[in-house]
């Protein structure tokens, strides 16, 4: 999947994550801010990279502001942002 546009998904509410994706020419640049960074930062990054792999995304700038989202919410918000950036949904 090619990231064609800037897109966002999710919210800054409790148990959710806000995701911003942008086109990038230099591989995957991931920036994570999380209220549980010390405990789960690595797990969150691994989950994000799994979703990027699932959608064959190799060039992307992705920023996440996590408010304690569980894995399924992280997966859902990243997927939504990717699809919006490609312009396939809505």
């Amino acid at each position: 999947m090619e990231i064609k546009n800037k897109a966002t998904a999710g919210t800054l509410e409790s148990n959710d994550v806000y995701v911003l994706v942008e086109p990038n020419d230099n591989g995957i640049e991931l920036e994570l801010e999380s209220i549980v960074f010390n405990q789960f930062g690595e797990d969150i990054e691994r989950t994000v990279k799994e979703v990027l792999d699932d959608f064959n995304v190799t060039n992307i700038k992705i920023q996440l502001k996590d408010r304690g989202a569980v894995e399924c919410a992280i997966r859902a918000r990243v997927e939504t942002a990717l699809k919006r950036a490609e312009g396939v949904n809505n």
Binding site: A9, G10, T11, E13, S14, N15, D16, V17, A69, V70, E71, C72, A73, R75, A76, R77, E79, T80, K83, R84, N89, N90
Partner: protein
């Protein structure tokens, strides 16, 4: 057993996380009214991931999809059916054909994903035409296991004011229960929308039960326990049911035809109701409404 059905907004990650811990027999993950048009894609992806990764083992899962006059409902089913929810709730169902359109597309998605299980349907009846066609809707497909009255949209369609007392939906409630029972399926009552008025909710739920509804929907977790209590058998009802079954057994042993209990003839409908009460009591275990 389904006494309470709790609506949860489909795009709220926090609420989906705790959805099955709120005591409701069913949760309705809502992709329709609770989700703005700009977030329809986000909600259906979130609900699909929630069904895939969260273990909703304590309650039944119902998904309210968008209505068939929108551009969203097919995408909703394509995302959700592969995760095999217990039921799909299509809104604004006004005739049998509406149900058949949804049922046909569910079948198409099930076949595409080689799903053998048949997803059930609980049509949301919330138009004047839907109320008039309630029996036809209830009989429209083998997938239909219950019908559900939605009074907010209905009263707008009836051009009347929605009140707490509910005189304006008395006919519709009766019509839905009769249609459901004639079709041998369940009937569910509209939510009570004043979250703060728990006494009003109890009265409304007791009235719905007296009309024959199987249970009631809720828009607030605070309403779930009251609805569960109202739609559970009381100890007195259970004791009576046991007496009915005992006297039936004794009558059979003695070869008696007509029998009476507490001065009242015991006939087949009373026995059927006693069996239902005891079955429900068994499912509830110790959680009986005193």
């Amino acid at each position: 057993m389904r006494r309470s059905m709790l609506f949860m907004p489909g795009n709220n990650a926090g609420m989906l996380l705790n959805a099955d811990a709120l005591g409701a027999d069913s949760i309705i993950l809502d992709l329709e009214d609770a989700v703005s048009p700009a977030e329809k894609d986000s909600a259906r992806i979130l609900v699909r991931n929630a069904l895939k990764y969260l273990n909703y083992s304590n309650c039944e899962i119902i998904i309210r999809i968008n209505s068939i006059d929108t551009d969203y409902w097919k995408s909703d089913l394509e995302e959700i059916i592969p995760l095999m929810p217990h039921m799909i709730m299509p809104p604004k169902i006004s005739c049998a054909k509406d149900v058949q359109i949804v049922a046909d597309y569910i079948k198409e998605v099930e076949e595409k994903h080689n799903i053998k299980k048949s997803t059930h349907i609980i049509p949301l009846i919330e138009t004047a035409l839907g109320v008039e066609n309630a029996f036809e809707i209830a009989k429209s497909s083998d997938r239909v296991k219950a019908i559900f009255l939605g009074a907010e949209d209905l009263t707008a369609d009836l051009r009347c004011k929605r009140t707490k007392k509910g005189d304006e939906i008395f006919y519709s409630r009766g019509r839905l229960v009769t249609a459901a029972r004639a079709a041998n399926i369940d009937a569910y009552d509209t939510p009570f929308t004043d979250v703060e008025d728990e006494e009003g909710l109890e009265q409304d739920a007791l009235f719905a039960k007296s009309l024959g509804f199987t249970g009631k929907a809720a828009i607030s977790p605070r309403h779930v326990m009251i609805i569960n209590e109202v739609f559970s058998p009381t100890i007195e009802e259970i004791e009576y049911a046991k007496e009915v079954m005992d006297i039936i057994r004794v009558a059979k042993e003695q070869g008696k035809g007509a029998i009476s209990l507490r001065g009242k003839m015991i006939d087949a409908p009373i026995v059927a109701r006693a069996m239902q009460t005891l079955k429900m009591a068994e499912q509830l275990g110790g959680a009986i409404n005193e």
